[in-house]
Amino acid sequence: MNAYQEFKTIGSRPVRPDGLDKVTGRARYGADLNMQGQLYGHVVRSPHAHAIIESIDCSKALAMEGVLAVMTGDDLVKPGDEMLGSGEGAMALKDFVPMVMSQGKVLFHSQAVAAIAATSPELAAEAARAVEVTYEVLPAVTDVHKALAADAPILHHDRFPDDYPEEPTNLATHISLTVGNPDAAFEGADVIVEQTYSVPMCHQGYIEPHACVARVDITGRTDLWCCTQGHFAVRHFTSAATGIDLGKIKVTPSEIGGGFGGKTTVYIEPLAVVLAQKAGRPVKMVMDRGDVFRATGAAPGAETRVKLGATRDGKLVAVDVDCLMDSGAYNGAPAAFPAYMATACYKFTDARSTGRSVYTNKPKIHAYRAPSIPQVTLGFELAITELAAELGIDPIEFRLMNAVEEGDANMMGAPYKRIGLRECLEVARNHEHYKSPLSEGVGRGVAMGYWINAGMQSSATLNVSSDGHVAVLTGSPDIGGSRASMALMAAEVLGIPFDHVHPEVAPTDSVGHTDVTGGSRTTLATGEAVIRAAENCVAELCRRAAAEWGVEAGVVAWSQGAAHYGEHSLTFHELASRAGNMGGPLTFSSSLNSTSAAPGFAVHICDAEVDKETGRTTIVRYTAIQDAGKAIHPDYVEGQMQGGAVQGIGWALNEEYLYNADGVLQNPGFLDYRIPVASDLPYIDTVIVEVPNPLHPFGVKGVGEVPIVPPMPAIAEAVCQSTGVRFRDLPLNPPKIMAELVDL
């Protein structure tokens, strides 16, 4: 039972508090701040994908007039085995510092090897060209199978995964989980489907390149402004890479122009700090678009083998899934998520789930919206669809026959609490879209998806003004409307108007520690901190009213934005205006490590039509259905569902990293790495299902990530229905489709 059952403010759709600044151009993003006397940083990047650095000579660059500092990997901390960060952004220091700037060996093309600070961007770029680096070039490997071959060039000679202690290998991680006896269970299956499916490496594709400006004084006190999904993480990572005490670093987050997981780490921030420290002046750095594609955290490509067995009457009885992922140059640990979560939508008694990741000479992969799960779900859900077809059972019906519900467990063991997967499937089955007839040549696909959703640490502070307005400070960068959610939640608890609440994203030293805006956790966990802080406020106001009336605090009730006892009442505004005489300023904080996260489930329906002459796929109609627990601001829940669906459409149809044999990315720009544009798409219809999360005071479940999980299998199935050809390797771009259609 949720603490709050009826809502006045929650669920309404007010204009977001930061909206005015964003439609008028006033909002400041990463590249929009300049510090007095600032220099401009420029990174020297490796022209080779795999090489040993023999020497770096910066003397000519440093001798140029207007060049004030240079740095190399020697200026960063020498990493050991320590772990950094948490959640989706967690990584080992040795997988992070050399990724930021090479320390002797280059493992991917465009890896940073040195950096310059100069008085203008042009001069910094010119000086970067004057840095002389000599390399011993090594053969590069960009394909996971070639990387696992016996004669493959080895990226890390000092790493030995648990199962392979004998000699170095490019296998980064290997995790295999078994429940029951899947091999025996396949013996009892009437129908077995076994296929392999693949998805290419792609990029988060946020429109704002990474940008920062840093200032360091002679005592090491550091001011850092940057665009990030988590400024506490930036502080942590920057401290770890530079050796500057964590507490001396203040990070102020700018507005953020998209991230999708890709801005839960740092790339240029430690470099700007080191250069600023060396030069004694602020340093601004802005990545260019090409470098964003070439050198920041892409999402891993994956190949998934799925073997499923079912009885004739439609019961899934045996599961074996093996997902091979590309880790890029360092360990981005992408393999555990598919191992644990591939099967998460289905009841099973006998299953094996394996995840492996492999080092290649490509940028270290990083989190992208439900990291690794869209890739493995392409395979799992398509295999389910193929299995349902073999059994002659409707794909939604088959899923309903096998979908998890409360009390079922997934590979992580703990039983689900109240989840909304079946409700989403029933909405899909009864949806007008699913029942509508298909035009000639149009195919329809359905798929569902799971994402675990995070809780993690969050903080909030409420400062009440004497006029009854409330500032709500949190540590969660607002990437998609979270200020509006925070204000709605505070207004709900306090019983005051939405526009009397003023949410702010506060710098690291102005609010308690808060983990990244990621893991679909912000509205849930930071929202919970806001709710608790507001409840603390209400409790104090009731105490003050009770003192005024000479009664016990326990008898005073709070409703409609006022304290009540018998005939007495005192409004929020009255209590705020009299705070100075009733106990002092009204400031309330809450910090928590949220344990209320609940998983997200979604079901998508896609109609697609393939042009048989050009191979172009048009998404004709699309419906996304998702359990949000409770939608705080429905516009921004729908927005997450639509945005995630469209990222999935892009990945399904177009998006793909293309490397040449030397490991050089061939499409590092939005012209050739084509993300969906407005004319590619129909409206994305949404249905928000609300099965309240019993662990959260308002019933909230995270919503941001799971909408990218179902699109790829839903679209691939729709394309199959349109063309009559079963495609199992994405993206389904025109050349790939035409190659099959021409052969027919």
Binding site: G19, L20, G25, A27, Y206, E208, P209, G481, P676
Partner: protein, 164 residues
């Protein structure tokens, strides 16, 4: 060696105001707007004309400010996102983007505002498809464009004087 300073003096009307600025011959308009004139609403997502975040109007023509040399606007009129609202009154496109939740991170929003305003001046009654093709040069990674297109069509309705 530092190159000798080589700056050109340019006069233009920026958001209705006569403005003079210095720029180097190779400097693009987007940089001058942002760095010299502090009009940071013009965003740079790619610097290659692919993303549309730097969309501005030069003599009422929609262009990417990263593809126009600053010196080219001599004697011309430039309108950026900062000049779209009429004093304290938002342009209907801005108002409807807010009402429909047609932005998430907001980095593409200035470009969308400028491009959509230009659309509605060219075509006060666009179809959904026309709006989608006109805005195809403005990349948005967050919204899937759904609420943007709805907002633009709703703004068109408002500007035509029709009830929403």
């Amino acid at each position: 060696m530092n190159k000798p300073l080589n700056k050109m003096a340019v006069q233009a009307t920026i958001n209705g105001e006569r403005t003079a600025f210095l720029c180097s011959p190779g400097q693009v308009l987007a940089d001058v707007l942002r760095d010299e004139l502090e009009l940071i609403g013009t965003k740079i997502g790619c610097n290659t004309g692919d993303c549309g975040a730097c969309s501005v109007l030069v003599d009422n023509r929609l262009v990417c400010a990263c593809l126009v040399l600053a010196a080219e606007v001599e004697g011309k009129s430039v309108q950026t996102v900062e000049g779209i609202a009429n004093g304290g009154e938002l342009h209907p496109v801005q108002q409807k983007l807010l009402e429909h939740g047609g932005l998430q991170c907001g980095i593409c929003t200035p470009g969308v505002v400028v491009a959509a305003k230009a659309l509605l001046e060219h075509n006060p009654d666009p179809t959904e498809e026309q709006a989608r093709y006109w805005l195809a040069g403005n990349l948005c990674r967050c919204t899937g464009y759904d609420k943007i297109i709805r907002a633009v069509l709703d703004a068109a309705k408002t500007m035509r004087g029709e009830a929403a």
